[in-house]
């Protein structure tokens, strides 16, 4: 079973205690944005086979949203971090570099 450490209350929470919230760091669109912007924001997803940044909520715990960096192939968790950032912080990226040298892809965005 997947378990993630909630960065707010520090609990090592099991999958059943958490609610998944999909891909992280999506850029929100609003009035005046194009159809393409909305398509990207609402529907297009990285869906990588490998390192994935995602949102989770500690639903049956403190109730707060947070971020996690996880491998979708091995289910290895590289770290969890605050919901208040729009990109993964350096220490998380360093943790991924250490485990997956050369992982950063130039995929389509």
């Amino acid at each position: 079973m997947l378990s993630l450490r909630c960065p707010y209350c520090g609990v090592e929470a099991e999958e059943t205690e958490l609610a998944p919230g999909g891909e992280a760091h999506l850029v929100r669109q609003g009035p005046g944005s194009s159809d393409e912007d909305f398509e990207t924001y609402l529907f297009l997803r990285e869906n990588p086979k490998g390192v994935h940044f995602e949102r989770w909520r500690h639903a049956h715990g403190c109730g707060k949203w947070f971020h996690a960096a996880r491998c979708t192939v091995t289910l290895e968790v590289f770290g969890t971090y605050s919901a208040q950032v729009s990109a993964p912080p350096e220490d998380i990226l360093a943790a991924i570099d250490a485990r997956r040298p050369g992982w950063r892809r130039e995929g389509p965005r």
Partner: protein, 417 residues
């Protein structure tokens, strides 16, 4: 390869010579340098695409490239429910085309796919579901697809082992499609593979596509673990790996890959001769010809490429089904497995041209594409052969997400089946 027909006579002939004369059902050739069409993925949808390309459109210089073994993806991992009682017109048309092709697929392929139109009930266990299924029955009537809303007494007649008075999930009725049912999943893949091979197509297993080559916005070929192969047209039909292949082709998809699981019990005597789906509790069950109870549950909510099950899903599914089917509470479960399903935002599939010229994609069948295999292949073959979608595929283009023309099947397909 010339295909020797299977028949009662062939069985007798082979019995007389100790079954020494059966030929391989399909060839395993090395890849050629070029094909008119390459289909990536030898699941049901890829194989059916190739089959109808040859059968309906006369395109036979075709290769189907598979990274593992044919039918080893979701096609060999699903719970084989076949039905066409969807809500929206484009889906009903596509799934009904598939269901009706299934009726004669064994004869078509000269391969017994064990289609069993035993009937499918989708239970209504809340007032909400009662209203939902009544609405679907009305929509199906307009679409010309025979379905019917039935009351709890009729449900109990059809499924005597069901407890319709459960305290948490009483059975208030159900949507009944008498012509839905099941088929043998492996046989669908094997029968299609044999028919493709007999038309001279190459099915190349243990060959992973690692890159897609293009020039001036047109697809030119693929790189594989068995070398480079060029092609006139390319069809990507890889279910859970659609995002990976789309990235190779240089575009993104409105798809997320998640795990969906199923399990089977020890075999027991025949006790249930229809398929039952209970969407409120996320569980569905049928009895296989071997007597095993085949049980499926809900999909995970997080991105995942590991084809594995997880304990809490089994617990969740079985806990809920035990109330409705008390007799299963003492059954031993034999096996549990997972498949990686490709989920779209509107829970409908994608059959589409792509931003790359002459490259087409068929994906997004998510938790419910086994039932669609022949119809999907039929419509995809038309798209690939003509370069434009026909009437069955037209509504399922990628552009629908940008244009807001969703085919919302979250009610019909939101639960896994």
């Amino acid at each position: 390869m010339g295909m020797r027909r299977y028949s009662a006579f062939a069985v007798a002939r082979e019995a007389a010579r100790y079954h020494q004369g059966w030929a391989r059902a399909w060839d395993s050739p090395a890849p050629k340098a070029h094909y008119d069409v390459i289909v990536i993925g030898a699941g049901g949808h890829g194989l059916a695409t190739a089959y109808y390309l040859g059968k309906t459109h006369g395109v036979k210089n075709v290769a189907v490239i598979e990274k593992g073994w044919l039918g080893g993806g979701n096609t060999g991992r699903n719970t084989t429910i076949i039905r066409s009682n969807y809500l929206q017109d484009p889906s009903a048309a596509l799934y009904e085309k598939a269901r009706s092709l299934y009726e004669t697929l064994s004869q078509d392929l000269n391969y017994n796919i064990m289609f069993s139109p035993r009937g499918v009930i989708m239970l209504a266990q809340t007032e909400h579901e009662v209203r939902g299924w009544k609405r679907t029955a009305q929509a199906n009537a307009l679409q010309g697809i025979p379905t019917e809303f039935i009351g709890p007494r009729r449900v109990k007649e059809l499924v005597p082992i069901m407890n319709i008075h459960g305290p948490r999930y009483p059975v208030l009725g159900g949507l009944w499609q008498a012509r839905g049912g099941t088929a043998r999943h492996d046989a669908v893949a094997w029968g299609l593979a044999r028919a493709c091979s007999a038309m001279g197509m190459d099915i190349i297993q243990n060959c992973e596509v690692t890159a897609i080559r293009s020039e001036g916005g047109q697809v030119k070929g693929i790189e594989t673990t068995k070398g480079a192969i060029s092609c006139g047209k390319l069809a990507i039909v890889v279910a859970g790996h659609s995002g990976v292949l789309a990235e190779m082709a240089g575009f993104r998809l409105p798809i997320e890959s998640v795990a969906l699981q199923a399990l089977v019990s020890e075999p027991i005597k025949p006790c249930m001769d229809v398929v039952v789906m209970a969407n409120t509790v996320h569980g569905y069950m049928s009895q296989s010809d071997k007597g095993e109870m085949v049980i499926g549950g809900g999909a995970d909510g997080f991105n995942n490429y590991t084809q594995r099950g997880s304990f809490q899903h089994v617990e969740e599914t079985v806990r809920a089904l035990c109330e409705t089917f008390p007799i299963i509470s003492r059954l031993k479960m034999l096996r549990q497995w997972g498949g990686i399903v490709d989920m779209t935002g509107d829970r409908s599939p994608i059959l589409s041209k792509t931003p790359l010229g002459n490259c087409f994609i068929n994906c997004g069948w998510g938790t419910g594409g086994f039932k669609a295999i022949p119809g999907s292949g039929w419509a995809m073959a038309q798209l690939v052969a003509k370069g434009e979608p026909g009437p069955l595929a037209a509504a399922f283009g990628l552009e629908r997400f940008r244009e807001g023309r969703f085919i919302d099947e979250s009610v019909a397909a939101g639960v896994a089946h």
